[in-house]
Point group: C2
Chain length 357, copies 2
């Protein structure tokens, strides 16, 4: 496998770059992509960087019917002096492989995947917006390609990486969002696929999202599928609460995604000697803390927004206004620290930053 | 919409038909397929039958990332005097539309979908095996096609129908299977997508299937996701038990698929005045009935096998042998009645059979 050299075919038909200021998330793609194939007899083979181009598949390919697929999401950042950084990319590749296991997809070689990531970002580095808060979103994904309507793991797969320049999540800096606690729909349950980054989890979440959107909420806060009372996560973010000086986040229950931002926030807080714990948190705990005046902050964590303060939580028929609907001090401090490390503005005592050369 | 005429382009490159005796499920496809597109401004449009051919999509198409997709499965049968029959196809189209609702996919016009089904089967009718027990499997499906990495319903979709001649599910007639009760993994939970026919449910089920397969079990029996005690369904089948003269099947809990075979079996039993009820059934109820000698039969129901008797149920460390591991009398009677109606061998008092002309 390691002898597999990544070949490169440079596009001779470069696209025009959009005005970075008007970028919408995930709608613009760069000039190249990475592709690698899997077959039973050859394993993963033929890693290559080629011009960004359509995929052609048999209509019976299992991806279209049984959704055997996994993906990842991370970003490349441009520093003030034009260096390109990735943030803990090895964690994404490890998580990709854990997702593969759950979905019966053959795992990829971590070294090849990391090399592919770096090489591709390097080739398309001029697509990284040189604007504060913007970045190049990186989407590795694997799809099952065998034409077969039998419900059984595919015998062939394609691993791809595509890149998309993305705007600042907050147009005017970090800003609180309103979140509705979901009472009808469930994202995942222990024993299901909730801790894997796989398509079905996201398709299933759209209806609740759409309905809460109609009432003016940007995302839903999912409760656990068994008892509908323990807090899980938000859309594409893990969630943290600051209650009476202590920071708490739901423990990894098997049904929530192990966010890399979540992990980094926990490590950062420990480094700062801020009390932080991972445990079961019921929505009633949050409500009680709110009523007692102890719910000091709430925020989501994820690659897209890094830190997303929660200014309002809608639960049953009540609006819990947190920290006067403003960004909390701690949320802001974490945001500055993480984005500082990501873009090379501050020291990185943890060794999280990887330079693309 | 109804003015939308289905156009037909006949393939001038017909494939050679395989030896029907050696067919594996879902690996051989016919000469044509149906395609229809959806865009926000035109709605569903351009319905057409074209030669079977690959699909070309942008690598950022949401189907590859967020799995917004639904599908159906039914069969066309050839009668002894070469008539072609479908079994309750309108039920499949209705279920497709219910699945669409859950997955935020725009529903299709039932009349166009039914016309498409019939027209396509008619054009490829010589692909229906003229062998007892064989049929033409029909797979309608919808995929989301917009290139967009934002987790939001796609703005464009493609609806397709492909056809696959399939062998007899039981090479030597109806035969009991061994099923393991799943204790670790969960297929679906109330509030999730279990009652929709969507890819993610099947991807998530593969790992449990694979593991039970290693121990010699052909499928797993899923328990509910909340309490891990109520019986849900089996792989691609609903499940029935005959206990002390009464036939019971799990009620539609919101997390199991509303099988069309299930519905037909219930209607058939009522027609025969056999006591049948839909209710919550715990695995302990089944175990108790077994211990008391009252568990007379168990069988799965689904389009693929029609009726699949369960000869052994593995639960914790015990093997429950049902009806001496043989096909039960009632299972056989239902099987004969349903396949008789499907293939035109017996009267159809229910009006379930639809002739393709
Ligand atoms: C469901 C879900 N939870 C949490 C996260 C946050 O994970 P990370 O911090 O690794 O981006 C994401 C996004 O990746 C996600 O999709
Ligand atoms: C999960 C699941 N349950 C049950 C069934 C049985 O449904 P039907 O009788 O409509 O084929 C199927 C197959 O279609 C299925 O996929």
């Amino acid at each position: 496998m390691k002898s597999n050299q990544i070949t490169v075919e440079i596009s001779d038909n470069r696209k025009e770059k959009p005005a970075f200021s008007s970028l919408q998330f995930g709608k613009t793609f760069t000039d190249h992509m990475f592709v690698m194939d899997y077959t039973e007899d050859q394993g993963w083979h033929h890693p290559r960087i080629v011009p960004y181009q359509p995929i052609t598949l048999d209509p019976a390919a299992t991806i279209f019917h049984y959704g055997q697929t996994v993906f990842e999401g991370l970003k490349a950042y441009l520093s003030e002096n034009e260096e390109v950084f990735l943030f803990r990319p090895e964690e994404n590749i490890k998580r990709l492989n854990r997702s593969c296991e759950r979905l019966c997809i053959p795992q990829v070689d971590e070294e090849i995947a990391l090399e592919a990531l770096q090489k591709l970002v390097d080739i398309d580095r001029e697509w990284i917006p040189n604007v504060e808060g913007m970045a190049l979103y990186i989407r590795p994904f694997i799809i099952s390609t065998e034409p077969n309507l039998d419900v059984t793991p595919s015998k062939s797969y394609t691993f791809m990486i595509i890149l998309s320049p993305v705007g600042a999540f907050y147009k005017e800096g970090i800003n609180p969002v309103k979140i509705a606690v979901e009472q009808e729909y469930v994202r995942a349950v222990r024993g299901g696929t909730g801790n894997a980054k796989t398509a079905g989890n996201y398709a299933g979440a759209m209806l609740a999202q759409k309905q809460s959107g109609k009432s003016g909420y940007s995302q839903v806060l999912w409760l656990d599928g068994k008892e509908n009372k323990y807090i899980e996560e938000v859309g594409s973010m893990n969630v943290f609460f600051k209650i009476n000086g202590e920071v708490v986040t739901p423990e990894l229950s098997g049904s929530i995604l192990e966010g890399i931002t979540r992990k980094s926030v926990i490590e950062l807080l420990k480094h700062w000697n801020v009390p932080v714990s991972e445990r079961k948190i019921s929505i009633d705990d949050i409500y009680d803390a709110y009523k007692n005046g102890q719910l000091e902050e709430a925020f989501g964590t994820g690659t897209a927004a890094v830190i997303s303060p929660i200014g309002e939580l809608f639960w049953k028929s009540e609006k819990l206004i947190i920290n006067d609907g403003k960004t909390g001090e701690l949320a802001k401090k974490i945001y500055d620290a993480l984005t500082g490390i990501q873009t090379g503005k501050v020291e990185d005592p943890f060794g999280w930053r990887v330079t693309v050369q």
